[in-house]
């Protein structure tokens, strides 16, 4: 936040600003108010420092806080006694004191450590003198923080380091196309824009800047990738460097932004990156050359080339990577991380400072292939502008000069890259802008919104044209300007109105309507719809006898459990049976509607064919099944099938059952179902699917009860039947209906569908034209030891024209019974 305030003066209140950032820039992930964390810390002078008797490292210190802190036990001379164990403690130092009652900043938000006045080896210690680590400013716990002598004693650390600040962590997903918002300068400009205020970039941030350097160190850069990979490479050598910890303000700044302070040189490159979004790198010059010259080449790796990086990882370089190299070796993985072999350390006296631009696609691929993600990668993969390199480099040089006053440029500035195209003006008609916005903005307002964020804009004869600023790489089309105007004005300020349109009917696919009908029918039939994953595992594929070779395989599966696209719905459903029985649901009917795929089937557009399926399982725990059902579970599944078909106006009387054989469309299910208790069901030429009880093997492996059966139906087949199904209404007769039962005794091997067919044929042959008849099966009986089955049907007959006589119905019955 202060980084923002540092470059502009916004008289805004924190809460308002946070709300506006959330609404107009991006979602806020975390807000940290720094003042409460640091407000107790006071800058004090150590007046006296004596070893604590009986301890080998503790000292008893007397601190002067100019009586800033009220509630503390003081000596007669107003000094405060603190015991300190740091090796660098000494009288005369200016240090940071955390008084009793305050919380150690590094413990805030974790396990707060509250300081007190407490005796240490019999000596009362009031609070503590803090290390950098305890202040959460850096990682240094080797000693206490020592400040310059000119800092005012008794003042608050908050004032000295400008810690009356708020860290706002903004989610960066919405910045993917905005490289400038990965630097605080860009964020500040954006905030200014949404407040309707004019922003002015600092004077150093300009594309036309040149560094004056007359050093005699010979720096040569051969950028072989200027056309693809590295559009710009700038560097300069700097001598008389003195590496040391950064000033506290810089360390504090970096830790606020989540970056670990390392040393002044590295910290400056990171600071500049955080401000501008442009990553930089510093190499130790003496580690890359002994001579007064160096040749730097930007190239792809050689075969088998390796490089150890700053994070100590060893990278086997890939051919698409970008390597920064001297004549004899690679010293950096371009755009990603510097090499260990040229790292700046406390002995460094001269550096090569790099400020380059890399192609976002190349960096993304290189980062992925090598598995390395860095702050630089995050920024380069958003497409930084090569136009800001000179300004950023000279700003970094300026800061180095400020912090290492003796430093001096010892080489000319190298700048090797592809020529930059002129920035193209982009335009949009005011008419199109108004259409998108839903209102006509006055021209001056449009111009102001854009110029506030330093976009040059003008309107001429209804055309708004803008010159993209040198740091933006995302303004290329009319819609980009529209977005800019809408966002800066605020989407919520646009008029909200439903579109006006012609009234035309909406289409709903027949398949979706069928699926919804099935859902309602089955739910009304006591069945439960469930959903399982589209991906299943090899074990289930094998258990259910399905061919893994025909299933689409996920190459990057989350786990082996989710590796195969399902080829059928039944296996997934079966897996849910046992657990539900165990949970106390003794009788159940589960169904699912979903897609299945085979990797060898394509549709008319050459895409993988998606088969829409309906599957159902009925199951009952063995004990309960005996109480409720007699006969195989198969018939329970069959009953649900009949129920479903009847409910969608398909007469189940037309169902044909054939043996499930390997050669059929459903052939791969032969291992899933039990032979003799399963069938392919068809109506006419439509093979609907498969119904049956399951093989002993899957029953065992999935712990299915004996009373368990299921079915799977191809919904495209079913749909084509539904499309042909007419209304099922039959007009009522005014004459009474005659009901008679008849029993047919036939050989036990004759099936119901054979008998039914014969019966239908006979009925058609013997029915008078005015008569209406239908029959239904009411009983099947077979005496023990007999080879004859007795089928009892109930016949219902009537006529639209007359009352039927007993004699003619009896004649009909006797014809049918033959």
């Amino acid at each position: 936040m202060q980084a923002v305030a540092g470059v502009e003066e916004l008289p805004v209140n924190n809460d308002d600003l946070i709300a506006k950032i959330g609404a107009q820039i991006g979602a806020i992930e975390e807000i940290t108010y720094l003042k409460p964390i640091y407000e107790a810390a006071v800058i004090v002078k150590i007046i006296d420092c004596k070893p604590l008797e009986g301890s080998d490292h503790l000292h008893v210190c007397l601190l002067d806080d100019k009586k800033t802190v009220k509630q503390v036990k003081r000596q007669d001379d107003n000094l405060i006694q603190v015991v300190c164990g740091a090796p660098n403690v000494a009288a005369g130092l200016t240090v940071v004191w955390l008084p009793p009652g305050s919380v150690v900043p590094s413990s805030v938000g974790k396990d707060p450590f509250i300081l007190s006045e407490r005796p240490i080896m019999g000596i009362v210690s009031n609070g503590m003198i803090a290390s950098g680590k305890e202040l959460a400013i850096n990682d240094d716990h080797s000693g206490i923080v020592v400040l310059n002598d000119d800092v005012e004693i008794g003042s608050y650390l908050v004032d000295y380091l400008n810690l009356d600040d708020t860290v706002i962590d903004i989610e960066n997903k919405m910045f993917t196309h905005r490289p400038d918002l990965f630097g605080q300068l860009g964020v500040a400009r954006e905030i200014s824009g949404i407040y309707g205020q004019k922003f002015s970039s600092p004077s150093w941030y300009t594309p036309e800047v040149s560094l004056d350097s007359r050093g005699d160190f010979e720096l040569k850069v051969d950028n072989r990738l200027k056309d693809k990979g590295c559009p710009r490479f700038m560097a300069v050598a700097i001598g008389n460097i003195k590496v040391a910890p950064s000033p506290l303000w810089l360390q504090s700044y970096l830790s606020r932004t989540g970056i670990r302070p390392i040393n002044n040189i590295v910290d400056i490159t990171n600071y500049v990156m955080m401000v501008t979004g442009q990553p930089m790198h510093a190499y130790d010059l003496s580690k890359i050359t002994q001579a007064k010259k160096v040749n730097i080449t930007i190239r792809h790796p050689k075969a088998n080339e390796e490089l150890s990086l700053l994070d100590l990882s060893l990278v086997k370089l890939n051919k698409g990577d970008i390597v920064i190299a001297t004549d004899d070796r690679a010293i950096g993985l371009g755009g990603i991380m510097g090499g260990k072999n040229s790292e700046v350390d406390q002995n460094t006296t001269a550096i090569l400072l790099e400020c380059a631009n890399f192609d976002m696609y190349t960096i993304r691929r290189s980062s992925f292939v090598n598995g390395i993600f860095s702050e630089a990668v995050t920024r380069f993969t958003k497409g930084q502008s090569p136009r800001q390199c000179p300004a950023v480099l000279s700003y970094a040089v300026h800061l180095i000069k400020e912090i290492c006053p003796d430093s001096v440029l010892i080489s000319k500035v190298a700048d090797e890259g592809a020529p930059l195209d002129d920035l193209q003006d982009v335009s949009v008609s005011l008419d199109l802008l108004s259409k998108y916005l839903g209102l006509e903005l006055p021209e001056p307002e449009i111009i102001k919104l854009l110029t506030n964020v330093e976009i040059k804009a003008k309107v001429e004869s209804g055309l708004l044209s803008v010159t993209p600023p040198f740091w933006r790489t995302d303004i290329a089309a009319a819609e980009d300007i529209i977005e800019e105007v809408a966002r800066l004005r605020g989407f919520d300020t646009l008029p909200i109105e439903l579109p006006s349109r012609k009234v035309t009917p909406a289409n709903v696919p027949a398949l979706l309507e069928l699926k919804n009908r099935i859902r309602h029918i089955l739910a009304a039939g006591g069945a439960n719809e469930l959903l399982t994953y589209s991906f299943i595992d090899e074990q289930l594929m094998n258990q259910s006898g399905q061919d893994i070779g025909r299933s689409f395989k996920i190459a990057n599966a989350l786990s082996p459990d989710l590796r195969y696209y399902r080829t059928g719905l039944v296996p997934g459903l079966l897996r849910k049976v046992h657990a539900n029985h165990k949970a106390g649901f003794a009788r159940l009917a589960l169904f699912e509607i979903g897609k299945t795929h085979f990797n060898d089937q394509t549709d008319s557009e050459g895409m993988p064919y998606e088969s829409e399926r309906f599957a159902l399982i009925v199951s009952a725990e063995t004990k309960v099944a005996k109480d409720f059902y007699q006969g195989p579970a198969y018939y329970q599944a069959r009953y649900y099938l009949d129920y479903l078909l009847r409910s969608i106006n398909i007469d189940p009387i037309d169902l044909i059952f054939n043996n499930l054989v390997a050669e059929s469309k459903w052939g791969e299910l032969t291992k899933l179902y039990q032979k003799g208790r399963s069938a392919i069901v068809s109506i006419g030429s439509h093979q609907l699917g498969v119904i049956g009880e399951f093989s002993a093997a899957i029953q065992r492996s999935l712990k299915l009860p004996e009373f368990c059966a299921g079915l799977e139906i191809d919904l495209d087949e079913l749909l084509s039947l539904v499309n042909h199904a007419g209304a099922s209404y039959k007009q009522l007769s005014r004459y009474p209906k005659v009901v008679q039962d008849l029993t047919i005794s036939v050989d036990q091997d004759k099936t119901y569908q054979e008998i039914r067919q014969e019966l239908t044929d006979k009925l058609n042959n013997n029915l008078a034209v005015d008569m209406n008849a239908n029959f239904s099966l009411i009983d099947i009986y077979q005496a023990e030891g007999s080879e004859i089955k007795n089928w009892t049907f109930r016949l219902e007959v009537d006529s639209y024209e007359r009352t039927l006589t007993d004699a003619e119905v009896n004649r009909l019955v006797s014809e049918l019974s033959k």
Binding site: G22, A23, Q24, I25, A27, Y361, K382, Y436, L437, G438, A477, A478, A486, L494, P495, L498, R501, K502, A506, N507, V508, P509, N516, H520, A523, A524, G526, E529, L531, Y533, S534, I554, A555, L562, Y565, K576, A579, A583, F585, R587, L588, K595, M607, P608, E610, Y629, Q630, G631, Y634, Y635, R638, Y639, G676, R677, S678, A696, Y752, E754, I780, Q782
Partner: protein
């Protein structure tokens, strides 16, 4: 191996095979005295016969194991039935197949809710097209203005198959229903010529390769919306979504939109609504903020229109994608997204139609 030994094994084999068919405890054949006697012979044999004889005895034993297993399967095998019959023979009327009690039945809450959501959009004139579960790189990325190798592709943790299409690219498990945009625009382009807008909603399963927890699943449902016509403004988008949400939650709501980035919309927005459950006072549904971020949306990018041969100078449009699980979890206070695919009846039966929940 001499003939005596061969005959000896053959004799034992015949005896034991016959026994498997005779006795009840078939396993006992594998532990029989005869088998053990054959194994006991091995040490006595001459060196050159040992190996051959041993192998023959092992083969016999394996054969017997298979026979025992097969006979057991045969014994356990249920008799064939007349699969064309509606019920079994000799059954009492009250023990014949029947439907389970209607009050047990349920439609999956996600799909029941989706049906209601679709009904609202249909009433607003949106047609429905369901999305695919396997698609190609062009529909997932290319047609949606994600250039090859574009970093924005990384924001979608996409599952890919080992199998590839004719351009040698893996097939993709769609990470969003936007994969259908190009097809929809091409299918309905004729409407534009007739002065009608293209207005379509697209429900479907989407897949993300991300860690699963109570709020994230690798498989979930989205509803995409696409609207293209003349003079379509950002305000039209906001109004359409607001109207839908007010109808869905049956209450007045406020909306706000913040900038976002999707390659296929420009401008892109993240759409938030005032919490319909606490009237912005703050409750656990909105994490006590009064607002709920509910979906991403935006004006359709001109490149997406161009990819479907629609002239962006003449037509504009908007699109959105909303997660169905989230809407349903909020509505019913469901604690864990994984319950949706758990197949647990204690979960599902709470959504029975008879209870009037849905």
């Amino acid at each position: 191996m001499n003939q005596d030994l061969i005959d000896e094994i053959a004799l034992v084999r015949n005896k034991l095979v016959a026994r498997i068919n005779e006795i009840e405890d078939k396993n006992s054949v594998l532990r029989s005295v005869e088998i053990r006697a054959l194994y006991a012979r091995i040490p006595e044999l001459a060196q050159d016969q040992k190996a051959e004889f041993g192998k023959a005895v092992n083969d016999l034993r394996n054969e017997l194991v298979d026979l025992v297993e097969a006979s057991r399967e045969e014994a356990n095998k249920l008799p064939s039935i007349d699969v064309s019959a509606p019920f079994a023979l000799n059954t009492e009327h009250h023990k014949r197949p029947t439907l389970l009690p209607a009050e047990w039945g349920s439609i999956h809450p996600l799909l029941a809710e989706l049906e209601k959501i679709l009904a609202i959009f249909i009433s607003m004139g949106f047609s429905v097209v369901e999305s695919r579960e396997i698609d190609d790189d062009w529909h997932m990325f290319g047609s949606l203005n994600f250039p090859e190798g574009h970093p924005a592709r990384d924001d979608y943790d996409t599952f890919m198959t080992e199998e590839t299409d004719e351009r040698s690219k893996p097939w993709i498990a769609p990470a969003h229903t936007s994969t259908m945009q190009n097809r929809i625009l091409k299918t309905y382009i004729d409407k534009l010529g007739k002065g009608e807008p293209i207005a379509v909603v697209i429900p479907g399963r989407v897949f993300r390769n991300e860690d699963v927890d109570a709020r994230h699943d690798h498989t979930f449902y989205q509803l995409e919306g696409v609207f293209v016509g003349r003079d379509v403004s950002v305000g039209n988008l906001i109004a359409s979504l607001k109207t839908f949400l007010e109808e869905y939650y049956k209450t007045k709501i406020e909306v706000k939109s913040q900038p976002f980035y999707f390659p296929f919309t420009e401008p892109s927005l993240e759409f938030a609504i005032s919490c319909p459950f606490c009237d912005k006072k703050g409750c656990h549904v909105c994490s006590y903020s009064g607002w709920i971020e509910i979906m991403g949306c935006g004006s359709i990018h001109p490149n997406v229109l161009r990819a479907a041969d629609i002239d962006p100078e003449q037509y504009q449009g908007f699109a959105w994608g909303v997660g169905i699980e989230r809407l349903v979890m909020m509505k019913y206070n469901i604690e864990d997204i994984r319950l949706f695919k758990s197949g647990r009846l204690d979960f599902l039966r709470q959504f029975s139609a008879a209870k009037g929940v849905l």
